[in-house]
């Protein structure tokens, strides 16, 4: 008997998922005795799943094979899929790669970061279950399986959020996440039940074949429910308060998982829903709907980040803002948009993971996350400071980091869409994407100033750099920030193009599962591979040179022009604001201890927008009933819109 490797790799997806779940089981069995055994088990199970998924890169991403694994060998009979299946195409594998790399980094970081906590067996069991469920979700070829995985994911994430239950607010954040998250899960379940009532099957490929030609209002209602359900898992507007609450109180390694991996599951669900199941991305309404949600999330969250005083809560709002970018370009429906969205999804996991881990390092070293309290840590923690600056430059889209490459593609995609359709809406989208990026940069200047530069708080005079074991995972992520930024064309060629083509190739996905010719028998036209045109320059190094030269030019002009201080001559009168604090940015008013100006670098900005900010502050009331109401309202609005327009 010869060993047939090309068939044997069909087992890799299920083995990768099993290794994580088995690891969870075994580590809780043997882990109570000794920490070493437990860590070995956890490390091995993460490593096995990483290796197995990496081994799939060559056949799936480069050779375009679609792996189908029918559990119990229940293959389809007469065009009906009875069995449960895993279906791995390039899109699934792309997200699986994000998941396993993030899990590995987060797990290794946990070994050192969590070492001061007790009952770590529970932590690792939940952690591995979370990882396994997320991997199962992106590799699944069955709708109900996806729901089960979403539920496991939500529960374990809630439990891990509350893991440090002595922290202020940990239980509260977990409770809100559980209540409102269960509303999202219920929404997914209702959508699945409605689809099953019409299609009588749960296999993704078979539903994808039957749905587009099927005309029934029930299907439209199901679309609304599924979209809101997956959207709630990606924490899109109006579910974003949950993310902020959960991130701020969870351990940093779990924040990485929630922002880097769980939100990606929501994004994956939305891509599968719109591009594969319904294939309705060419309809103008769906484009407006998805892009609109993305733009609102991206803008609201970046402005909310201005008001935050907790390091991780601020990062959480930025995280949702970046997911908003991803959803925005995915909603454009073009190949370039899809490609940009996938690239940014990948980069978001990397740079946001890095930022959360540096926040965790700061917390580990100082015990505080309060931006008003920290400061001057660059002298005490130079390594962490450098890592933070890399992450901050990436998320703000500075060349030559990865954030620049993907944001540049996002601008091109929105610009191209606006140019092609001549639609004012997409022009607004393009401008909103640019403004959001500027606000992100501004916000991260504030964070860098408040945490790493400025004056050192005497409380933290004895702060020490974190251990090497914590810095190595961060350096891995930092390297991943730089490499795609330097070689975006390679990433495009090896990862993005196959994943984009797979995402848009619904007939290929159907035929791989149900036998060739199945999609054609439902009158789904064969897929024509789409070209991804990149307009404009695509040279990060050149942009870096441009940035440096412009900065130099500004400095020279500023030096030559002398330093005439702008003299403020505004008079305080009854009809202007009576608060002299806002007259200039540099008034010397005594304030609470803070690194940035008297109270903040953005006084003028905040003052002019004070009504918006105070409205948003009240809107994020922190009461679980309100958040449930927003979620219910989102479902209601989505239902009404889908029934009217779709």
């Amino acid at each position: 008997m010869t060993f047939d490797f090309s068939n044997f790799i069909n087992n890799f997806p299920i083995l990768a998922i099993m290794s994580l779940f088995l690891g969870a089981f075994v580590s809780s069995l043997v882990g109570r005795r000794s920490a070493k055994v437990r860590n070995t088990v956890v490390f091995l199970s993460m490593l096995i799943s990483l290796v197995l998924i990496l081994a799939l890169i060559k056949p799936v991403l480069l050779e375009g094979k679609i792996i189908n694994y029918w559990l119990g060998n229940w293959e389809p009979v007469n065009g009906w899929a009875f069995g449960n299946s895993l279906e791995v195409d390039a899109l699934s594998l792309f997200f699986a790669l994000i998941v396993v790399v993030a899990v590995f980094v987060s797990g290794v970081y946990s070994f050192f970061y969590m070492s001061h906590d007790d009952s770590l067996v529970n932590y690792y069991t939940l952690f591995l279950m979370l990882s396994g469920s997320v991997l199962g979700l992106v590799l699944s070829g069955d709708l109900f399986n996806m729901f089960v995985m979403i539920e496991i994911m939500t529960f374990t994430a809630v439990a891990l959020t509350a893991f440090r239950n002595h922290y202020e607010g940990a239980l509260e954040g977990a409770f809100k996440y559980l209540v409102v998250g269960s509303l999202g899960s219920t929404s997914v379940l209702i959508g699945i039940a409605l689809i099953y009532s019409q299609m009588h099957t749960l296999n993704l490929a078979q539903i994808a074949a039957m749905l587009p030609g099927y005309d029934s209002p029930v299907i439209l209602i199901a679309f609304a429910f599924l979209f809101v359900g997956f959207g709630s898992k990606a924490f899109l507007f109006p579910f974003h308060p949950l993310a902020a609450d959960a991130h701020a109180v969870a351990p940093a390694s779990i924040s990485l998982m929630i922002s880097g991996v769980l939100t990606k599951c929501g994004v994956y669900g939305i891509i599968r829903l719109c591009y594969c199941l319904y294939q309705n991305m060419d309809q103008t309404f769906v484009q407006y709907f998805v892009t609109g949600i993305g733009v609102i999330s991206m803008f609201v969250c970046v402005t909310m980040a201005f008001n935050q005083h907790n390091f991780k809560r601020l990062l959480a709002f930025h995280s949702i803002s970046q997911v908003g970018y991803v959803i925005t370009v995915i909603g454009l429906g073009s190949a370039l948009g899809m490609s940009a969205g996938l690239f940014h999804a990948m980069n978001h996991t990397i740079f946001k993971g890095l930022l959360f881990l540096t926040a965790g390092a700061v917390q580990h070293a100082t015990g505080s996350l309060d931006l008003d309290e920290l400061g001057g840590l660059s002298k005490k923690m130079p390594g962490t400071c450098a890592l933070f600056l890399i992450g901050a430059a990436s998320i703000s889209g500075l060349p030559p980091f990865n954030g620049f490459a993907s944001k540049w593609m996002i601008y091109q995609a929105t610009f191209q869409k606006a140019g092609e359709t001549g639609n004012f809406f997409f022009v607004v989208v393009c401008v909103a994407a640019l403004i959001t990026s500027v606000l992100t940069l501004a916000s991260f200047i504030k964070v860098a100033q408040s945490v790493f530069f400025g004056q050192l708080n005497l409380k933290f005079a004895n702060t020490k750099e974190v251990s090497l074991g914590m810095r190595i995972p961060m350096w891995i992520l930092a390297a991943l920030c730089i490499l795609p930024g330097l070689f975006p064309d390679k990433v495009q060629q090896w990862l993005l193009t196959p994943a984009t083509q797979a995402a848009m190739n619904a007939p290929g996905y159907i035929d791989a599962a149900m036998g060739s010719g199945y999609a054609a028998s439902f009158a789904i036209p064969a897929y024509q591979p789409q070209q991804i045109f990149l307009s404009g320059a695509w040279q990060p190094v050149m942009w870096l040179l441009l940035l440096i030269s412009v900065t130099l030019a500004v400095c020279i002009v500023a030096l030559l022009g002398g330093d005439e201080k702008a003299t403020v001559t505004s008079e305080i009168s009854a009809d202007t604001d009576c608060d002299p604090k806002y007259d200039s940015f540099f008034s010397g008013e005594a304030s609470v201890y803070s690194q940035v100006g008297g109270s903040d670098l953005f006084w003028g900005f905040k003052h002019n927008w004070r009504r918006y900010f105070s409205f948003m502050h009240d809107w994020h009331s922190g009461v679980v009933n309100d958040y449930t109401l927003y979620g219910t309202a989102a479902i209601a609005v989505a239902l009404v819109l889908c029934v009217i327009f779709l």
Binding site: N165, F175, V179, T186, I190, V623, V624, T628
Partner: protein, 116 residues
């Protein structure tokens, strides 16, 4: 008959969500989540119900075009969903107990340290 099912499940879901949105007591919120779960379970079972169908127990040789039976898959889905619902309730209750110990209250509008 099946129409009653759909009506009841709609009412259950609506009541559950009403409960989650308006009731300030954490236990009542938990009850609301339970009601939504039951409503969805009823919806799934009703989806697979055929009036007059038999139990879906067949040999592969007995199965013909004329065999008329209740769809078994939704029932399996409901079982899964019930288990998940029980887990949700257990987890919510345990969080409520811990919250009460920490905050000393069960009113949701007093449990809002994370906001803004």
């Amino acid at each position: 008959m099946i129409f009653t099912n759909y009506l009841v499940c709609f009412v259950l879901i609506a009541l559950g969500i009403y409960c989650m949105v308006t009731k300030k007591n954490l236990f009542k919120i938990c009850v609301g989540m339970g009601l939504v779960d039951y409503g969805v379970n009823l919806l799934i079972v009703s989806v697979g119900f055929h009036a007059g169908g038999t139990a879906p127990i067949f040999n592969i040789s007995e199965l013909t075009r004329d065999s008329f039976f209740v769809d078994p898959i939704p029932q399996a889905l409901t079982l899964t969903s019930i288990v998940i619902g029980a887990c949700t309730t257990a987890m919510t209750l345990s969080l409520i107990i811990m919250l009460y110990k920490q905050y000393g209250t069960l009113e949701s509008d007093q449990i809002r340290r994370l906001r803004g």
